[in-house]
């Protein structure tokens, strides 16, 4: 008998980080499907291409660092980053845009910080913001909802051989931002008047909400971040809309537009860069939501998920120090850094 010696516990759950990440990928599928239905094959192409770029950059970098490629690729974290960034990019994005964004996200925002678990910022959002700042035009051209191009057109767009102008149109968020304050103009834009909120985008957001609820049900994420996020977004929106419905969009419109649901359930919930205690996560997400509303209503960009998430990533360690739970046997929770 040769006996294994090990430290307790001697049993553990069967799942692993890879399984964890795969669940996240599965949960994006409804959103991906609706995006494709509304805006054509562009997003699917983006996602697939992004995954390839991510795996290749990660493998190259791991090799350069002398790490086991197979072991680290199995954690699927690179794939998750790629999928999320692919979903966030406009369906009209040419190949090089994705290449730049994804490789930057993987190499700079993740591997240079020491790999999975060490990155202070959400890599997908770092890539997104880099592209938004460097290529603002390419990054803000969306296809009009329901006006989906054919697969061939999408491939041509991807190859950069088709000018985007003919296909693109403003998003509901864009439209509202342009005509905010002008009641007649707002009424005359059908894109702002879908079944629940902005046309097309309402379904996209509902699909991501569905996927997110699946994640909660599988205990991959807890309800704290999505709830905090949406509450932070909806609460100021409600107050402002009650005061001036012509200047400010209603809360439902906010929650079902742009990257709201994707952000709430998939991006802000990235555990590595979020706050980690329950209370910390609530605070963290609430502030993201508020920040998104502020930037959407007063800022220079139509959407603001990426900026807000990155800003709060920066504050997450601080939030963690001030939101420790009350430990058993202690009368009150510890605060501060302890040093």
């Amino acid at each position: 008998m040769s006996l294994i010696t090990s430290s307790s516990p001697h049993a553990s759950v069967k799942n692993n980080t890879g399984a964890f990440m795969r669940q996240v990928i599965y949960a994006t599928l409804p959103g991906l499907a609706v995006l494709t239905w509304q805006f054509g094959w562009g997003t699917v192409i983006n996602v697939l291409w992004a995954v390839v770029v991510a795996l290749v950059s990660e493998a190259l970098f791991l090799k350069a660092r002398g790490r086991s490629i197979g072991f680290y690729l199995k954690d699927y974290s690179a794939v998750v980053t790629a999928v999320l960034l692919g979903l966030a990019l406009p369906p009209t994005a040419p190949w090089w845009l994705t290449l730049v964004g994804v490789s930057f996200a993987i190499i700079v925002a993740k591997q240079l910080y020491g790999g999975l678990g060490m990155n202070p910022f959400n890599p997908a959002m770092v890539g997104y913001v880099l592209l938004l700042i460097s290529f603002p035009v390419a990054m803000t051209q969306w296809i009009s909802p329901g006006d989906a191009p054919s697969l061939q057109q999408s491939l041509q767009l991807f190859a950069g051989q088709l000018p985007v102008d003919g296909l693109s149109g403003a998003t509901p968020l864009d439209t509202f931002r342009t005509w905010a304050g002008d009641e007649a103009a707002l009424a005359s834009h059908p894109i702002l008047h879908g079944e629940l909120a902005g046309q097309g985008w309402e379904w996209v957001n509902l699909a991501f909400l569905l996927g997110g609820l699946y994640l909660i049900s599988r205990k991959i994420i807890t309800w704290h971040i999505p709830a905090g996020f949406l509450a932070g977004l909806a609460a100021p929106a409600l107050v402002a809309w009650l005061i001036d419905p012509v200047r400010f969009a209603d809360p439902l419109f906010h929650m079902l537009s742009g990257g709201a649901m994707l952000g709430a359930f998939f991006i802000a919930t990235d555990p590595v860069s979020a706050a980690t205690s329950r209370n910390g996560r609530l605070v963290y997400a609430l502030l993201i939501g508020v920040l998104i509303w502020v930037i959407r209503s007063f800022g220079g960009y139509p959407d603001a998920v990426a900026f807000s998430v990155l800003l709060l990533n920066l504050s997450a360690p601080f939030i963690d120090y001030y939101t420790q739970p009350r430990t058993y046997g202690h009368n009150k929770p510890n605060r501060g850094t302890g040093s």
Binding site: S7, S8, S12, T17, R281, P325
Partner: protein
């Protein structure tokens, strides 16, 4: 019955944060009855099967022992005995592999069994209530019972909380939440009655307000068996939902009572005592059947054995024997776990024996408990925080532990982790989190230990520094005073000497500085809750005394300066003498009063010396009166009175008064009294006086030829006879003192050291007189000596004073003892009555034909008796608490004082030795001799102090 039903229908069960639901795997072993274990050829019994000091072997290799015979006794207060699990021969006492995380060997008793299984004669008691709680605790202690749930804390300690602690809840832990283990489950199903009896014994010992049994809802058979067995008694069965780790001590307390045990405290602090069901069972066996703990129920399980189940295993059975008994398949076995899969330890060697805490052996196949997958990075998913029963943030702990940032890890309450393993169980990255925490905790403990050591060293250093400074100042003050006295002696009749008050002032300043520093140190220490703050305080007190002394010296020096004026007129001289004497007297009275107020040992002595001084002063006053009366009448030298003789007498008187004062001062100094300086000062005054008189005598002698020669007025008595009488008195006083000291030492009285010192001094005195007698004999015709009549007075009160002091304490203690005993009896009686009434009520409840009214009556009676017992107990508690506090305060203070004194004596000795060394070449014969004798006295003092300290320490050790 209605009450019981009502209670069991609405048991409130609380919840705790987190927890996990690993596969239970209990079905493997819980379906078959407990079977006897193997009788191996050799049993290996580690001396440390419990928490605490290892047991002390009572046997030697080669001894034959019988089953149940005690072969090792408890090796300390927190320890447990070991008994032979079967008959056989002790073949070795030496290191054998045991279950230990580090895989270390430990000292074990090895017993070669003889297969006869021959019992030692043993018997239990049928009615345990006949035994007093103390006797029961002893029985449990000598039966070697230690917590059988896992930790192995000696049970006798846990059930002997001390009279001052009130037990609200006695919790019987029958949760058994770890997967695989079913030992308690089977025990409850098969021995419920014995368990309940064990619990009753615990109730009798602890008198809890409530008794709760917590069982997980995955053991329905055990629940119904226990419910059946405790029907009608005041034990509440609480079914808790299945969740790991509900069986953790803190968790079950939270589940059943909603109370949280504060971080770093014990359950007893919230009035809870937790015992495992297995322990209750063992207690019943020990008390009722007289069987010590020699076997236990152990679950043998896992896919690696053919016949998993529960076995009654003899302690010391090597796991190897148990495995083959259960039909192990050595090829399938990959991991051997002692304990459960969550908190158990893997065994590196199957020769490791089953011990008192071994509740389970898992022989696991690779499929069953696979090797953990490779550790992946933490993704901060928070799953671990969701399940942590202590509500920690395991991911943060891990992060800080990994980075060796112990401070931050502690800030995240690392030390509150109970190492349950729930976090590591759920971690998707398979990080061995608990291992990191164990490592970090070890590092924190190490750091704390190092810190403590460093702090102690620093405090010791500071205290020593302060002491040395103070002593320097003190010495300086003394030196100045001596110098002053010398100078005074030299310039006796000349102009007033220039008193070096500046130097004295300096010394006094230094002393008060040292005192202030010490006070600061003490305050700091207190703020830091350092252990030695009391010591530092005492040190500060002492320094204050030193400073005061120095101040007094300054004052006295100032006073003395004008006093040393040349003596011209006899009346004036006498006047001055009277003034000095009466002020010395007043000083002494004051000192005595102060000492009395402080309850100092030597107050009586001081009082006596004050009396002497008073007598002296009175005499001088009378003389003065006489002189005044004579002055105008006979301006010329009166022929009736020989001035030389008169002066001689006066010199003798003055110098003996001086000697008495010096003695008193020395003693006071030895005792570290506040007024030593004052006494010393008054002694100095007296010396100056004596010196003056001596000088006068010398002068008078020089003038003598002019006057009539001495033979005209022969001394009234033969000086030799008088000296002889004095020697006799002195040695009698010495002998009396020695006797008193011896008695005091025998009784370990506090003042033995002082008495001994006193005796030594008296001996020196007696020796002095003897020497003088010898001298006088040699020169008898030449020097007739004047005999001072009053010097011996102080001795009498001195000898008797300490005795009266020693008598105070025992009396008080005896009184309390008596009261304590009375209350204890009262409580025992009340408690017994209550128990009887309760038992009667139970019996009645079980009978069908008793009416509700009768039951109610009985219930009322039970309640009343319980109330009575409670009141008695509370009173007892209060008294015991008081007595304890007293004793603690008393011995604690004494020890510290003694320590201080010893240290002081030693350092004074060292200083003196150094001084002597230094002065050896430069000083006159005389001062060297003085120093030498001083050194000797100090040595004796140090010796005495050392001895007293040692004795006190030993005594304390016994008390503790």
């Amino acid at each position: 019955m209605i009450r019981t039903l009502f209670r069991s229908r609405s048991p409130k069960v609380f919840d705790f944060h987190g927890g996990i639901h690993p596969p239970e795997m209990k079905h493997l072993s819980n379906s078959t009855p407990i079977a006897p274990g193997p009788l191996p050829a050799q049993l290996v019994l580690p001396l440390n099967m419990h928490i605490g000091a290892p047991a002390k072997p009572l046997v030697a290799p080669g001894d034959r022992v019988l089953k149940g015979q005690m072969i090792a006794e408890p090796g300390g207060a927190v320890s447990a005995a070991i008994h032979a699990p079967t008959s056989g021969t002790i073949s070795a006492i030496g290191p054998r592999p045991i279950q230990h995380p580090s895989g270390m060997d430990a000292i074990c008793l090895v017993l070669d069994t003889d297969g006869k299984d021959e019992w030692v004669t043993h018997s239990g008691v049928t009615d345990y209530t006949e035994l007093s709680p103390g006797e029961l605790v002893d029985t449990i202690r000598h039966a070697g019972i230690a917590g059988m749930g896992g930790a192995g804390f000696p049970t006798s300690i846990k059930v002997n909380l001390g009279d001052h602690q009130r037990v609200e809840e006695l919790i019987i832990n029958a949760v058994e939440c770890e997967p695989y283990i079913t030992a308690d489950d089977r025990l409850m199903r098969e021995h419920a009655d014995e368990i309940i009896t064990g619990i009753h014994i615990l109730q009798y010992l602890l008198n809890p307000r409530r008794t709760l049994i917590g069982i997980e809802d995955n053991k329905p058979e055990a629940i119904s068996a226990i419910k059946r067995a405790c029907k009608g008694c005041d034990i509440e069965v609480r079914v808790v939902p299945t969740k790991y780790p509900s069986g953790g001590e803190k968790q079950i307390i939270q589940l059943l009572t909603g109370k949280e045990v504060q971080s770093g405290q014990l359950p007893a602090h919230v009035g809870v005592v937790c015992q495992n069901v297995g322990t209750a069972h063992a207690i019943k066996r020990a008390v009722v059947d007289g069987q010590p703990l020699i076997s236990r129920v152990t679950t043998l399980t896992g896919d690696g054995v053919a016949r998993p189940g529960n076995y009654e295993v003899l302690l010391g059975t090597p796991v190897r024997d148990l495995l083959s008994h259960g039909g192990v398949n050595p090829d399938a076995l990959e991991r051997l776990v002692m304990g459960g899969p969550m908190m158990g330890f893997t065994l590196h060697n199957p020769a490791v024996p089953v011990v008192k805490t071994t509740n389970c052996i898992i022989a696991a196949t690779p499929e069953e408990l696979p090797e953990p997958p490779e550790e992946q990075p933490c993704i901060r998913c928070g799953s671990c925080a969701e399940v942590c029963p202590a509500n920690l943030l395991p991911q943060q702990l891990y992060w800080h532990a990994k980075n060796d940032d112990l401070e931050k890890a502690q800030h995240h309450n690392l030390m509150d982790c109970i190492e349950c393993g729930a976090c590591a169980y759920v971690c998707p990255s398979h990080i061995p989190l608990v291992q990191y925490y164990r490592y970090a905790k070890g590092a924190v403990r190490q750091q704390a230990a190092d810190q403590l050591k460093a702090d102690k060293a620093r405090e010791r250093f500071e205290a020593r520094q302060a002491r040395i400074d103070a002593e320097k100042a003190e010495k300086e003050a003394r030196r100045q005073a001596r110098l002053e006295a010398n100078r005074k002696k030299k310039t006796d009749t000349a102009a007033a000497p220039a008193v070096d008050t500046a130097a004295l002032k300096q010394a006094s300043l230094e002393a008060s500085k040292a005192y202030k520093a010490a006070v600061k140190a003490a305050k700091e220490a207190e703020a830091n809750e350092a252990e030695n703050s009391a010591e530092l305080k005492a040190e500060a007190e002492r320094l204050k005394a030193v400073a005061d002394k120095a101040k007094a010296a300054v004052r006295d020096a100032k006073n003395a300066a004008p006093a040393a004026a040349p003596a011209e007129d006899r009346v004036a001289t006498l006047k001055k003498q009277v003034g000095d004497a009466s002020s010395a007297y007043k000083n002494a009275v004051k000192a005595a009063k102060e000492a009395e107020a402080n309850g100092d040992d030597n107050a009586a002595e001081l009082r006596a010396s004050a009396d002497t001084l008073k007598a002296e002063a009175d005499k001088l006053k009378a003389e003065l009166r006489e002189a005044k009366a004579n002055a105008p009448a006979a301006p010329a030298a009166a022929p009736q009175v020989d001035p030389v003789a008169e002066l001689k007498q006066k010199v003798g008187e003055a110098s003996s008064a001086y000697k008495a004062a010096v003695k008193a001062a020395k003693e006071a100094e030895a005792n570290g009294d506040d007024n030593a300086a004052e006494l010393r000062a008054s002694a100095d005054t007296l010396k100056a006086e004596a010196d003056t008189l001596k000088a006068e005598l010398r002068e008078a002698k020089a003038n003598a030829p002019a006057a009539t020669p001495a033979p005209a007025t022969p001394p009234p008595a033969d000086p030799l006879v008088e000296l002889k009488a004095k020697v006799g008195e002195a040695s009698a006083a010495y002998k009396a003192a020695v006797k008193a000291a011896k008695e005091a030492e025998e009784n370990r009285a506090e003042n033995a050291a002082a008495l001994r010192a006193e005796a030594d001094k008296l001996k020196a005195d007696a020796d002095h007189w003897k020497a003088e007698l010898r001298e006088a004999k040699a020169s008898a015709p030449a020097t007739p000596k004047a005999a001072p009549a009053t010097t011996d007075q102080p001795r009498i009160p001195e000898a008797t004073a300490p005795q009266s002091l020693a008598a105070v304490d025992p009396e008080e203690a005896a009184k309390r003892q008596k009261r304590l005993k009375g209350l204890k009896t009262a409580y025992n009686m009340a408690h017994k009555q209550y128990k009887e009434a309760h038992a009667a009520l139970e019996r009645a409840e079980r009978k069908e034909d008793v009416t509700a009214d009768e039951l109610n009556d009985m219930q009322r009676r039970v309640d009343k008796l319980k109330n009575k017992a409670d009141i008695a107990r509370d009173a007892l508690d209060a008294l015991v608490e008081e007595a304890k506090a007293d004793i603690r305060a008393h011995t604690g203070k004494d020890l510290k004082t003694l320590k201080l004194e010893a240290a002081r004596a030693e350092s004074a000795l060292a200083d003196k030795a150094i001084e002597l060394q230094r002065l050896r070449d430069s000083s006159s014969e005389e001062s060297l001799e003085a120093l030498n004798s001083e050194l000797k006295a100090l040595e004796a003092e140090a010796q005495i102090a050392r001895k007293a300290l040692k004795q006190a320490v030993e005594e304390q050790g016994l008390v503790e």
